[in-house]
Symmetry: C2
Subunit: 141 residues, 2 copies
Amino acid sequence: MASKTAGGQLEDRWRDILSAHARTMCEIDRALHPHGLGASDFEVLDMLATAAPEEGRQCRVQNLVGRVHLSQSALSRLIARLEKDGLVTRSVCAEDRRGVWVSLTSRGRDLHAEVLPLQRAALSRTLGGEPPRPGSGRSPR
Amino acid sequence: MASKTAGGQLEDRWRDILSAHARTMCEIDRALHPHGLGASDFEVLDMLATAAPEEGRQCRVQNLVGRVHLSQSALSRLIARLEKDGLVTRSVCAEDRRGVWVSLTSRGRDLHAEVLPLQRAALSRTLGGEPPRPGSGRSPR
DNA sequence: CCGTACTGCATGCACGGTCATTGAACCCTG
DNA sequence: CAGGGTTCAATGACCGTGCATGCAGTACGG
């Protein structure tokens, strides 16, 4: 009955992704929540921290939308929250005044540096033990 | 320094999971939404359809909680929605009157059969091309 | 120069999710 | 059998997200 597995393999793969995603997401959230951040917040902070360090870590919102897994509206609100918490600043782009530059504050940079190892640790906790070979993945513990 | 890549590989893997999850989830939602279902709804419907066909496809809520990637409260509301739509029925468990049996109605079974191929199609659209070997996987398009 | 189409971000709204709490039923021990 | 501790499901309060829309700014065509 090898023919029947065609759809089943995809199902299995999807289940693996689903569970890995859920566990990791949850773990990151737990690790970062004490610092007032969620997984999405960190994702944006991380992009800002790693992008264009020579330009003052600035990034247009429009540039971020394509990179994070959020809708444009969600990103807008998220950035608003980060700004309210003093982690980023928004400033109008001079060349195209529709655009908005987002840049890390020093507090944002500090916080990112502070939680980066926590995120890494969460990742290795949930993904570290799993080999890239997903065949009927066994979860330890 | 091979040690530096240790964190980076996990990061990549996490990014892959994130994007596969987002794309697939979105695709499933799009495929199922015309039928009044979301991805989570289907997940529960599917569990009920495949579980214990001899017992009338019944399943305790408590049994489902561990299998789906939802909190207990979310599952409770989800089941309430499905019941309101006439896809499942809830009935108290006689042995343990705290428990609740959930079972598919015939309409629920029909709908599941109807959308199952759509979900499979969505899966193969977003996961089909990708090999199980994620080593610096290149995604077409 | 003005109007129209278009782009980039913000906002109103509805929905679905989690967390914390509640309430009923069960269990166990004195 | 009364009482405290535990488990199962439902509910309330709150939050984040997506979709559709609004509004300012830009580009283009007459």
